[in-house]
Symmetry: C2
Subunit: 213 residues, 2 copies
Amino acid sequence: MAQHTVVVSRSTLKRLPLYLHLLEKLQAEGVETISCTYIAKEFDFDPTQVRKDVEATGEVGTARIGFRVAGLTDKIKEFLGWNNAHDAFLIGAGNMGKALLGYKDFEKYGLNIVAAFDKDPKKVGAKIFGKEVMPLSKMPALVKRMHINIGIVTVPAEHAQAAVDALIDAGVKAIWNFAPAPLKIPEGVILENARLTQSLAVLTNNLTRVLKP
Amino acid sequence: MAQHTVVVSRSTLKRLPLYLHLLEKLQAEGVETISCTYIAKEFDFDPTQVRKDVEATGEVGTARIGFRVAGLTDKIKEFLGWNNAHDAFLIGAGNMGKALLGYKDFEKYGLNIVAAFDKDPKKVGAKIFGKEVMPLSKMPALVKRMHINIGIVTVPAEHAQAAVDALIDAGVKAIWNFAPAPLKIPEGVILENARLTQSLAVLTNNLTRVLKP
DNA sequence: GTTTTATCGAGAAAAAAGTATCGATATAAT
DNA sequence: ATTATATCGATACTTTTTTCTCGATAAAAC
């Protein structure tokens, strides 16, 4: 099958999961086809924008009908790499780490957190939502043996760079970072920041403006 | 004092917290002035972009020197509304809810989670990180009495719209949504989605492209 | 069977975001 | 004192992203 190695904008990539959620809801309701116009209305986007986003996945529609819900769902999942799970290690079994370990839906999004690591001996040995917490020293060997590609970083900001360095040294190809620290990574490694503070900044700025007399 | 009611792009708003983290690190190290060139290098951004972002906060620099670290810190905080705390209620005391309740740094970011609410009677009554979990039925009256402006939604997707409706009915002005559901809100209310799946989508898409032979 | 309508897909236009250029200026070096 | 340099701030330019327009097409309405 022809794979779609199209490079698209971050914005498009971030809209696709939204469409996917909607499509899965519709599929559960037995809806078979869907138009970009409909999707656009649901999110208050421009229909053309939705059409272009969908185009990136390689799915083609039919005039007057739209797209098959099942077909589009598959194409989006494939495009995002969510059709088969990537194994991941998590570093830092604090609150955020625990929350992620307990997030069952990740398997739907192509992510399988295999184990957690922490440098605090008090946290080591426990099981969090069925996943073992191991000492950080064991991480490198396990990354190599299990061919882990993704490292999730949920340590405090001051330890983030060290955690990332260790993960990359061990052979991890992508970092999902939750620490509020600017990280340096070598060429070829993927860094994605999931920083709540950025989202919060947008919220509080808007709110201050709205509340201002 | 002249307030800055400048409307800036989402992108700018999301970069400002990054600068702020860096500035606070520098301030702790005793650095007094900083140039946009330096900030840009740290994040691999364009210096002009940093200068424009900074301009939005209203801080002015001096040629050849740059900006005072302390002054810029204050201006960014003020611009983001992080200089005085907004009280917030959290709905949904699941894993993500707990993680947020335990996140101490929020006070630095102008957010004070006052209490949590859950419809599950088993969760009600407990204290999570010192914050009480109350029945959802008590929420509306408390929002009004305490003049709560922000509602944080960490319920499962299928209950998200109901939670949001209840919060807005009660008088909340801004919603910080963690549920993977498309939410409808009335004019004038602020909705900010903090969806991990969007960030994950960018990561897994990039990773599949990198791993592809 | 013809007309109407909703939709796609492609390309053009508009808007937004990011990048480069350049004069002005404040410090440091000579 | 003069020259060199780093930086700001304003403006111009470029690129990217979003939105608009329009012909083609498939179903529905008449």
